[in-house]
Symmetry: C2
Subunit: 410 residues, 2 copies
């Protein structure tokens, strides 16, 4: 299961500050992996509210079912996450495993089990041995700390090659609030949602409804705009926990002017975490930003961007450092959205290649080829229909993806 | 551009008989490739009718536009195909290249240029040097033969590793009619249509309307039920030419009892040609048949099958000979169609793995693992909703796919 680290792996995990009302701990539970952290617990202050978005898969796992019910009252007191086994397609035993885990956490923290969020990531279709988790809850509660972000980010990893975290601050009524997020990928990454778990904790004082609206809106331009392999997980979960400890007056409406700085900080944090997921996409050697302009709507632009970002022929061309823009034409053509072939304008690395449905006279491939040899690839595609636009991020499709996925279970 | 031959390549090209009213010739035109056949011409008897289906891509190439117009009156006298350059995204020059090619053929065969079908396959976005083609038309018309199928099948290849042909016969009113088809893949293979060119010639006496209905109906269960990489070409074209030379009374209705044997033969021939395309899919080492049962409709079943067949995670697992059926659960979940997770039943190689949303108690992976080590992989997925069913074919996703596509143009 050891794979080479992503070339985008940062030199070190970012320094993440405490968030008032959040304490964390992690341990080795041996759910599947041996000799590494694979279980994390977060405890939240009373009055913490939560919002979130989860996979739309019709074969979602037992933990997703549990969390969909738990989120309905907007209250949260704890989050427990294991890596190695996704507890998906495990029937009643799987549902029981979730409930027993929530019970153990609720007992240890003296809270309602319906305020405990339970996530699992890893292999599908194997029974989760929840005893390995429940046996560790007592120990985890005794080691809770307000600074254990890096271990938490490590404990939720599967084929990720580096732990992912980010921090932003924002001002609400002159009070500085903190947002800290952690996430994991790194295959089965496609909207809606990416295969991933991502948790953002903040001390801002928000209503549950505002929390839900903020995270749903932020997801669309971040985790729902990335793709690694077009596959959608049964476990995708993005949660925003707001502990309400920052001391400003509560925010009750998403349109209030006083929440805009926070909203920007959250959106920016989510894009940062989503980019980290793509940059650690299985086998990724290049990070690709696809900007689509001129579509019928923003949604149409995003679908065209994802058609390009999911195309194996585009992704292998980029892996081969080949400026094969004809495959971009192909991917626009198959997106199922309106595009004017005879106005299509494509640029790579800022260099215009086509206009009005043809290569630009005298197009010189050399500077584009030089751009293709870099780590960060950008392309802009104007489909010539309207004003819709979107940006989508993906990575290249390499031998590393095959190596990782042809031997994932063995 | 040399890649290892597919392990499914037949020992030899099948023996294909003449079809009354069809003559063929091929040559090296040097459109892009040197030292190989890359141009074919077929001449059809007067009164030949044609039906066909073409790519739905909104960035379809100039030849597809030409053929869409040419097919409207149902008449055909010739087909000319070049490999190496797809003449796509080439603007007015591309349209002119098609017309000049059709003109040259029409002059040489003394027919209407609107009865000349023109197809191109290869790289997108480069101008086609039609002079290389038109200069060869005279020579091609002087070497027309009724048995030159293998050369024709070779001349239309791009990254294909073997030429593809098939034959069937059928009875209409006691008269034996012949159907011969050739096709090429072998990347950018996804419905609607597969990236491919396929031509079927028959001496049956059919109306143009019957010909169109037969080919559209046959495509749905053959070329529209295969996928290699989920990418859809700008050039996909499937045409059925009926020369009317067999001597039976004309068939004017697709529901006539006397055409049913022909219909079955055509459907079977199309499935054969489609399978050959998948078996020569770029990098293919395994041929995968996915049967979906219990869906809301046959169309829903096909979409679920394609979701499985297009999943990079399913395809890499099969490449790794890993019976990772959890990824099939995932692919069902993301298909966007109704499925009952708690009734989902999956079998691989005829061995039942899950029932009622859980692994079967005592499931033994050994015989499934043995099946995974074979060349031909079968799976059956019952989604537990209704009576819709479909069969879809694909291949595995291997290092070979990346090798071929990361250096296609170089």
């Amino acid at each position: 299961m050891e794979h080479p680290p992503s070339p985008f792996a940062p030199a070190r995990f970012p320094a993440l500050p405490p968030v008032k009302g959040v304490r964390l701990s992690s341990c080795e539970a041996g759910v599947r992996y041996a000799g590494r952290l694979d279980l994390m617990l977060a405890e939240f202050a009373s009055d913490t509210v939560v919002g979130g978005v989860m996979t739309k898969s019709v074969t979602a796992g037992a933990p997703v079912e549990w969390n969909r019910a738990a989120i309905s009252d907007g209250k949260a007191r704890a989050l427990v996450v294991n890596a190695g086994n996704a507890n998906v397609f495990t029937g009643k035993r799987g549902r029981d495993a979730v409930e027993k885990t929530a019970d153990a956490v609720a007992d240890a923290l003296s809270c309602d089990k319906n305020d405990v969020f339970v996530c699992s990531t890893g292999t599908i279709g194997e029974y989760l041995l929840e005893d390995r988790i429940t046996a560790k809850i007592g120990g985890l509660t005794s080691t809770l700390s307000d600074s254990a972000w890096e271990d938490a980010a490590k404990a939720i990893m599967t084929t990720d090659t580096y732990p992912k975290g980010a921090v932003r601050t924002a001002e609400i009524d002159g009070v500085t609030v903190t947002l800290v997020g952690i996430s994991k990928g790194s295959g089965m990454i496609a909207p809606d949602m990416a295969t991933m778990l991502a948790y953002v904790m903040t001390d801002a004082v928000l209503s549950a409804e505002v929390t839900q609206n903020l995270i749903a809106s932020g997801a669309d331009k971040s985790f729902n705009a990335i793709t690694v392999d077009s596959d959608t997980s049964t476990s995708d979960t993005l949660l925003l926990f707001a502990t309400g400890q920052a001391g400003h007056a509560p925010v009750n409406g998403i349109d209030e002017e006083r929440i805009q700085d926070f909203k920007h900080a959250l959106d920016d944090l989510l894009v940062d975490l989503a980019h980290q997921v793509v940059k650690d996409g299985e086998g990724a050697q290049k990070f690709i930003e696809i900007q689509v302009l001129g579509a019928e709507s923003d949604d149409a632009a995003r679908r065209i961007g994802l058609s390009i970002g999911n195309s194996p022929l585009v992704k292998t061309a980029i892996a081969g450092e080949d400026a094969n823009w004809g495959r971009i034409v192909m991917a626009v053509g198959k997106a199922g959205e309106r595009a004017d072939r005879d106005k299509l304008a494509i640029a790579i690395g800022g260099i215009q290649i086509t206009e009005n449905g043809e290569p630009i006279p005298g197009y010189d491939e050399d500077p584009v080829a030089a751009h293709m040899r870099g780590r960060d690839i950008t392309m802009t595609v104007d489909v010539g229909i309207g004003n819709g636009q979107a940006t989508v991020w993906t990575c290249d499709l390499t031998h590393g993806y095959i190596d990782i996925n042809a031997d994932y279970r063995t």
